[in-house]
Subunit: 385 residues, 2 copies
């Protein structure tokens, strides 16, 4: 196999979360939206004609660009500010290949999306791993907290609780990182915490390379960095239809950036990256904002309830602005995070656990439907007893 | 824009064939199958559930791998011999990135698929352009040929005609090319001629790098190089559902190679390259061989008829084994190939013309339905009068 590049041969590759075929498994491991896509998406798919399949699709995914610019732009975006990709992952791969040559540096935070180092490796580039500062709470700090008040717990009570929760902070002087490209996922995965907009703005202003702000989870957050696009020619925002719009099965992501930047990025992308059905379905999904927002609100309400219940059990976690929680096992627990993951799996509930530095004592739990979350909490309680 | 790589900034990028939105245009420019996909494809698409869209798809496209291995393998292929991609173009990009580092050499024939040099450029690699030997017929050699006998012309008559037609030949010692990867599209695009299997076998045996045999058009040809896969660990076959299965709008291609090679190639590919709908539709399409074959037979019959009619008008072309013809304008024509292309376009018929060395005196015509082809021939006759 010496016919292939050594960086490919030595890499372990990316390991996606498990996709069980058993439909009874409660799947809280890969951050899918627990609610189905808009009925208008299903209508769009059923309206596809044989002629649309027979012919090549719009290379630029034009109908989607037009819809997205109108809906997201508040008058400030044109279709040329939007560029579709075959999922956000394709955009990440393309952005790295557009900015970094072999042996150039690619910078990303740790912990964050575990695909970044794999894509860096595949490009033959150097990975600059920038550590988040994580202030973990003191052991037993939770004991002073009020017990779980369940579904009715007011936001303020949750807010107070967060003060004793882990806080993640971007490294000082991150903007001086000597890299061709810097990838920040915000809200962060796997923690769900939100880096502040003024900090991102400062980085965009001072970082010398391409700044990718990966907003895969932004639909569950109170703010976005979209305002930075107008000001900074080096900023590219990643969005995906996988989570917020319940279309992980469709593979549709897109970039938001200044048109001059996207014109260049487009050359590195596949020539027809999104198919005719995906264009129609994604356009229908983004056009039905009322439906999508109703799913986000339900997920956010459940996130509050689940976080409160987990904290009452002794778990700690950063304040999440995404559709998952990164829960550190209680200091008093007899089971490790890995054991919790395995025990839940044997009881038909999949969460995510990584054998990686700084997060091997945590499990990441995607927010499911109320019933799924209740089942998870019940099993966890029984496991911790 | 100095934040991007110089090889990206200086590249013109790939220019796809025009995709007119006017449905009355006769589109003979991008080698789509003129017939719609199997009705079973439409059934598969209409059976997609919201749950399939909500969740991530099978990362490996497993249902397709199983179907393709069974149908194509004659008992010799397993699902691990098949690897799906988001269109054949993604496979080309991935193969180049897997085999060639920056400044390594990527070899391909000229003329052939115009995406190869663009992908090479994007990878920062050196393009080794290997020229086909093209024996053009002597001017007026056609005059001795029988006049067009239309639909009923027997194959043998067409076969005799071909002796005065251009012949394309692979360069001698191509197997010694000092490159990490060699791309051969067979049947060739844009000419449609078929390189012989024994020559490909000899190259596979002796070439020191990765040999990609791009069989995008193989469904219209009498032979395939699939038998080479078992013998040669360095051979990867490219197949696509775009042409033979009328699914250009779907973006679905796949590799056939030894499992050990595909295991490595898979690392460079996107983690979820094909979506849930595309997997279902492509699986339905490849499973309906009887339908697909009926479209191939109709295209091949029309190819014979159109080639005969063009030759009778004084065009010359290599013997085509694909779904298009590369026609050199008659020596006596008052219009250049570019003028023919433009005149046809103004009359609502799109063919392909390139302002590139060695082919600027030719137009490439995709075989359409009998009615479309007759319309094309009528317009050409009137233009050449």
């Amino acid at each position: 196999m010496s016919i292939l590049r050594p960086n490919v041969l030595t890499s372990a590759g990316y390991i996606p979360g498990e996709q069980p075929t058993d439909p009874t498994v409660i799947k809280l491991n890969t951050n899918e939206n627990p609610y189905p896509p808009s009925p208008k998406v299903m209508d769009a798919i059923r309206s596809i004609t044989p002629e649309q399949l027979r012919k090549y699709p719009s290379p630029s995914g034009q109908p989607f660009r037009e819809a997205a610019a109108k809906i997201l732009g508040g008058g400030n975006l044109t279709p040329d500010h939007i560029l579709p990709f075959n999922g956000g992952d394709e955009l990440l791969s393309v952005a790295i290949r557009a900015a970094a040559s072999e042996h150039d540096s690619v910078a990303f935070l740790e912990p964050s999306y575990s695909l970044y180092p794999v894509l860096t490796e595949m490009n033959g580039s150097n990975a600059l791993r920038l550590p988040y500062t994580i202030n973990e709470p003191l052991p037993n700090a939770n004991c002073q907290l009020p017990i779980d008040r369940g579904h009715d717990a007011p936001q303020s009570a949750i807010g107070n609780r967060q003060s004793a929760m882990p806080a993640w902070r971007l490294p000082d002087n991150i903007e001086s990182t000597p890299a061709k490209i810097l990838l920040i996922v915000n809200p962060n995965a796997p923690s769900g915490h939100l880096d502040p907009l003024d900090k991102l703005s400062h980085i965009a202003q001072n970082f010398k390379g391409l700044l990718v702000i990966d907003e895969a989870y932004v639909d569950f957050a109170p703010t976005s960095a979209i305002s930075l696009v107008q000001k900074h020619p080096n900023v590219i925002l990643l969005r995906t239809m996988s989570k917020g719009y319940s279309l992980a099965g469709l593979r549709f992501g897109y970039a938001i950036a200044q048109p001059a930047l996207l014109k260049q990025i487009e050359k590195v992308r596949d020539s027809y990256p999104v198919d005719a059905i995906a264009i129609a379905a994604a356009t229908a999904a983004i056009s039905d904002q009322a439906y999508a927002k109703s799913t986000w609100e339900r997920v956010i309400a459940e996130r509050t309830r689940v976080a409160g219940a987990l904290q009452a059990m002794g778990f700690s976690m950063p304040d999440s602005h995404s559709n998952f929680l990164l829960a550190t096992t209680p200091p008093t627990a007899k089971l490790s995070a890995q054991q919790l993951y395995e025990s839940l799996k044997s009881r038909g509930i999949l969460v995510r656990w990584w054998n990686l530095p700084r997060i091997s004592d945590k499990i990441r739990i995607t927010i499911g439907t109320p019933d799924q979350n209740t089942r998870l909490l019940t099993e966890l309680k029984s496991l911790l007893q």
